[in-house]
């Protein structure tokens, strides 16, 4: 045993140096001090190690023991994860609260998954069947929304020599045995996976299916594909968190993982209060039945913040391997980068830009590369995806700082939030001039096949109007709006209508909060149609004032509030009304 215990030699905040740890490995989990605080080895030299401790180190003394475990930092994967709130190292916060009260105290050890609960297991394979890694052995209905596949762990294959009968089991019970060359491997309902290693898959697929978020500016102008990556940078108060909550609530993924990484405690409280009340628009069930929360608020230990991102993405990959579309939302990756910076500073590493460690870019790349739409392991060729959406909080709203700059190199969708828009309460405050999406062309087929024709042309039209408005605004600033000819004034008018009636979306309005794809498409068409008609009417010599006073405009502007998602035929009526109104003013 003596080689398994070392001694603390130096303590500086969350980083602790220890000696006498023979054979210690990088990223091995250790327990530090008499209180057995969880820590992870981040540097090794001989029998000395540097450990980042995931809990508050106040009161630790040099000389206290450090216990080796021989295991890397791992997540426990099995039924019971969905609907839970974890801290950064996968400890369920509700159980911690039961054990030590409403303040998070340290040195608490709790099981990530409930061990006292039985799950109903349905086997899918028979004794004697050959299985390979990733094959499904059976199912557990985890929540009414999620059928949890119990898979052959990575690296195991052979003949099924035992499979449990249909019935209820604890997660620790053996439900299958797989034999190969006399080696027997027992499978439980749960498995462990080291968080810093991506889970393998068979093949990567093109991201050609859009992730529908119900947010018009995203789905129409800057879409993200399932298995894609997006960054949403913005200064404080620009509505990052509301946007991420909206995506987590309404996107059409089967599993949503929300990582509150170094953010506000009250925001997590909001999610915990609101999500159980909201229903999934696709199944009508409470959202919590598909959501996993990882909460490591800004005042919780920073090393656990660093780990929370990896904990989250490992869980995401696990559900992807079952064939689900998973969305992982990280709020905010800047806080995670700051944790890296702080730990790096304590190790006295040579800093790169703004004190961030030189490996910041490669860590970000590794993280975003774990997103993707893939064919999973296993013989039935399931398709699953992990979509990663990361918030970035640039200091001073300055997009040229290192975290934003490096993140943009590795993501393919960029939703740039704009303080000026937020100050005038234009939400979502996504700036339509600087934002972009590289998925537009690859997902256009999906839209045109399932929703409506000419999606690509229509959305381009909208972008053109907005772009043109941006240019005209410069002139208006110098000369005033009256200096423009009527056709350009019309562009300003229509752009304003698009901004207020289409791009703006009220997250707190029961109808407008979520906009179905059908409604989005029809609204898109209405606005373009209106512009085309107005332009034609203007060319026929009708005055702009007449067009401006058309009562149908108010209707068009308010349709986002007035037309429910299940009554989009009202938009067809509105369409007819627009055409009629134009015909009327022409004939007058």
């Amino acid at each position: 045993m003596s080689s398994k215990v070392g001694k603390i030699s130096w303590i500086s905040g969350p980083t602790v140096r220890a000696e006498g740890l023979e054979g210690i490995k990088m990223y091995e989990v250790v327990y530090v001090g008499y209180d057995k605080l969880i820590g992870e080895v981040i540097a090794v030299s001989g029998d000395k190690a540097v450990i980042q401790v995931y809990e508050n180190t106040s009161g630790l003394r040099p000389g206290e023991p450090v216990y080796k475990t021989g295991e890397p930092l791992s997540v426990t994967l099995g039924p019971g994860i969905i609907g839970r709130t974890y801290d950064g190292v996968q400890r369920p916060l509700d159980i911690i609260a039961l054990k030590v009260g409403f303040f998070v105290k340290r040195g608490v050890t709790v099981d990530p998954l409930p061990t006292d609960r039985k799950w109903f297991f349905e086997p899918k394979v028979k004794v004697g069947e050959e299985v390979v890694e990733g094959d499904i052995l059976g199912f557990v209905q985890e929540t009414p929304l999620i059928k949890h596949a119990i898979m052959v762990p990575i690296g195991i294959e052979g003949k099924v020599s035992y499979i449990a009968k249909e019935g209820e089991y604890y997660i620790t019970e053996v439900i299958a045995e797989i034999t190969k060359n006399e080696n027997k491997y027992s499978v439980n309902l749960y498995q462990k996976w080291p968080v810093r290693r991506p889970r393998p898959y068979k093949e990567r697929l093109e991201p050609e299916v859009p992730l529908i978020t119900g947010q018009r500016i995203i789905d129409i102008l800057f879409p993200i594909a399932k298995g894609g990556t997006a960054a949403i940078p913005g200064g404080f108060g620009t509505g990052k968190t509301v946007m991420l909550h909206q995506i987590a609530a309404w996107c059409d993924a089967r599993v949503v993982i929300y990582i509150g990484c170094g953010e506000r405690g009250n925001e997590m409280a909001e999610v915990l209060v609101k999500f159980p009340e909201l229903t999934d628009p696709y199944s009508g069930r409470p959202l919590m039945e598909r959501t996993i929360l990882i909460a490591n608020t800004s005042n919780m230990p920073i090393s656990a913040r660093e780990a929370s991102i990896y904990t989250g993405i490992s869980i995401a990959e696990y559900y992807r391997d079952m064939g689900y579309d998973v969305v992982l939302v990280a709020d905010s990756t800047s806080r995670w980068a700051e944790a890296l910076r702080e730990i790096s500073g304590r190790l006295e590493e040579m800093p790169a830009e703004e004190g961030f460690p030189p490996y910041l870019a490669s860590r970000l790349a590794e993280f975003y590369e774990r997103a993707g739409r893939v064919v999973t392991l296993g013989r039935d060729k399931r398709i699953g995806s992990v979509t990663v959406i990361g918030a970035v909080s640039p200091p001073g709203g300055d997009f040229s700082e290192p975290v934003t700059v490096h993140t943009l190199r590795f993501v393919r969708t960029f939703w740039g939030l704009d303080s000026a828009l937020a100050y005038s309460r234009h939400y979502p405050a996504i700036n339509w001039i600087i934002s972009y999406s590289l998925y537009v062309d690859s997902i256009a087929k999906w839209w045109e096949k399932f929703i409506g024709k000419n999606w690509l042309i229509l959305r381009r039209k909208i972008q053109e109007i907005l772009q043109k408005e941006d240019e005209l605004k410069e002139i208006v600033k110098l000369l005033g709006p009256e200096a423009l000819p009527d056709n350009e004034k019309l562009i300003l008018d229509v752009a304003r209508m698009i901004r207020e009636g289409f791009l703006q979306q009220n997250a707190f309005d029961p109808i407008d909060s979520y906009c179905s794809v059908e409604k989005q498409y029809k609204m898109l068409k209405l606005f373009v149609e209106f512009y085309e008609n107005a332009k034609a009417t203007l060319e026929k010599g009708i005055s702009l004032t007449k067009i401006r006073s058309m009562p149908v405009i108010v209707k068009l502007m308010r349709c986002r509030y007035t037309v429910p998602n299940d009554k989009t035929e009202e938009l067809d009526k509105l369409h007819q009304e627009i055409i009629d109104s134009f015909n009327k003013i022409i004939s007058e």
């Binding site: 130096w10 303590i11 003394r61 609260a97 409403f102 405690g265 009250n266 500073g345 005033g480 009562p551």
Partner: protein
């Protein structure tokens, strides 16, 4: 759990800035409290920042001025910094480390609490939704403060942030529940005048009885500033979560706190982040600000109102910037408004209360609150755009509607924003005032309110005949003006304006209600 060492060390090796390096120590814990005795018998407090075998780096709170490696004694106290707490601390005045300075004996403690606290389990937090009436229109109406929120005031040198904070401390109530707030005031490196201003304004109303003041003044040691806010919050946590009180904590000025932190970081030779502030500034500030909120199953709450002066009025300076990333919004004061004599000079467009939307509306304030707030915002934002435009192209090239917006902005600032230091407006008054100010705008901005009004049966049975009467009046007035010369023209013109406005307003509602064009053409 651990033995308290009573060994005294004379082995101070180096003294550097606020730091002291002590050699040959044993059994010293990280974050342990240290008592330092100078050869003259004066004692100071410090804490362990880093520790290894035989070596400890200690930060001295009162500064190291006058200390010498020779003859200085250090005693490790075997515990972290703990504050003796009791309800009797209300009504008292303490220094920045929690020792009474009002000449009375120290209160008898009920408990000793670690001043670093512990993070509240996010799972146990209760989402704050109770509206606090501050009696200030710009806050109540547009940037509502919620019980359990942390809402900082971003100010600049020479702006009346202290008055505003004092006014809030005096007036804050939760409607329907006549419980008063206990006020905990932490002065972090502020001037004597500012501290005595607070003291006086609390005494004036008798609020001093339910207040505790912790004063680290400008000439007190800078390193105490790291401790002062934590002490204040430790008492706040005790009162809120053990004694079921609603506590309002005012921390002023957090910029001084950030600077003290930077000084220590520099002395430790750490790699600096932006503007020389340490990379962990965000995390460190979070350990202060996140100590606000409500807990499920507990009656009490902590509402925080930190005040900070933005160096050079720069909101992107690291301290305000990182603060706003942690707090639930911000109240920004504007020098321009103050210059034209508006108190409180709140820049409503840059201000924000993130918790507002769940604390207002039906059953909390009034059902029209969200609507009127968003209209005030939208129209004031538009007016500001137009102001900028008018500066370049001149007012003469603006449309009449645009000019109306400019007038609106002025009235909004003078009537709605501005109020006196002693004026306590209740929320109903604030909302009525908001409608009054908005009513001067043309239809579009206030359309939805009118729609709401006229969508009722009232419109069909009463307003409709009214409109016709107005229309007739209009014609009659025109005739009257012609026959009676110019003297009445001014009055008549303004009446005509009103009629036109009403007509416009009604025509929208008709449109929306009946969807036809026939009525419009009739009117």
């Amino acid at each position: 759990m651990h033995k308290v060492t009573s060994i005294e060390y004379y082995s101070v090796r180096d003294i550097k800035g606020p730091l002291m390096i002590i050699e040959n120590v044993s059994n010293v814990a990280y974050d342990e409290l240290v008592e330092i005795e100078t050869p003259t018998g004066e004692t100071r407090l410090g804490k362990v920042l880093e520790v290894g075998f035989g070596l400890a780096i200690v930060q001295v709170f009162e500064g190291t001025t006058g200390l010498s490696p020779k003859g200085t004694k250090a005693r490790f106290l075997g515990k972290t910094f703990e504050l003796p707490v009791t309800e009797d601390m209300l009504g008292r005045i303490f220094d920045g480390l929690g020792k009474p300075i009002d000449g009375l004996p120290p209160p008898v403690p009920r408990d000793y609490l670690d001043i670093n606290g512990a993070p509240i389990n996010p799972e146990r937090r209760d989402y704050p939704t109770n509206f606090i009436q501050t009696g200030i229109s710009a806050i109540d109406g547009m940037n509502t403060l919620i019980r359990g929120q942390k809402l900082p005031i971003f100010s600049g040198a020479g702006l009346p942030h202290n008055m505003l904070a004092a006014q809030i401390a005096r007036q804050a109530t939760v409607i329907g529940q006549e419980e008063e707030f206990a006020v905990i005031f932490a002065a972090i490196g502020v001037q004597h005048d500012e501290a005595s201003f607070f003291k006086k304004s609390l005494e004036e109303t008798g609020a001093i009885k339910r207040s505790a003041l912790f004063l680290n003044l400008a000439d007190d040691p800078a390193f105490e500033r790291i401790i002062t806010p934590r002490i204040a919050l430790t008492l706040a946590e005790y009162l809120a979560f053990e004694k079921d009180m609603h506590v309002l904590v005012i921390l002023t000025d957090m910029t001084n706190y950030g600077e003290a932190l930077r000084e220590i970081s520099a002395a430790r030779e750490e790699v600096p982040g932006r503007k020389g502030y340490p990379g962990y500034l965000y995390t460190d500030l979070a350990t202060i600000y996140e100590r606000a909120g409500r807990i499920k199953g507990k009656k009490g709450s902590i509402t925080q109102m930190p005040i900070l002066t933005m160096p050079n009025d720069d909101i992107s300076h690291p301290i305000p910037d990182l603060t706003a990333y942690i707090t639930e919004g911000q109240i920004v004061l504007s020098r321009d408004l103050y210059r034209i004599g508006i108190y409180p000079p709140i820049n409503v467009l840059m201000s924000l209360s993130r918790l507002m939307r769940d604390g207002i509306g039906e059953g909390k304030t009034r059902s029209d609150h969200p609507e009127v707030a968003s209209q005030l915002y939208a129209s004031y934002a538009r007016a500001q755009e137009l102001r900028a435009l008018a500066l370049i192209v001149g007012e003469s090239s603006l449309t009449p509607t645009d000019l109306l917006y400019l007038r609106y902005a002025e009235v909004f600032e003078r009537k709605f924003l501005a109020q006196s230091y002693y004026e306590n407006r209740d929320i109903w008054k604030t909302l009525d005032l908001a409608w009054e100010v908005l009513s001067m705008l043309p239809k579009k901005a206030s359309a939805s309110k009118i729609i709401e009004l006229y969508n009722s049966e009232y419109f069909l049975f009463k307003a409709f005949p009214l409109i016709i009467t107005f229309k007739l009046c209009n014609k009659y007035l025109e005739k009257y003006a012609k026959s009676n010369g110019e003297k009445f023209e001014a009055i008549i013109n303004s009446l005509k304006c009103l009629i036109k406005f009403l007509l416009k307003a009604c025509s929208i509602s008709i449109n929306l209600k009946l969807g036809g064009n026939s009525l419009i053409s009739f009117l």
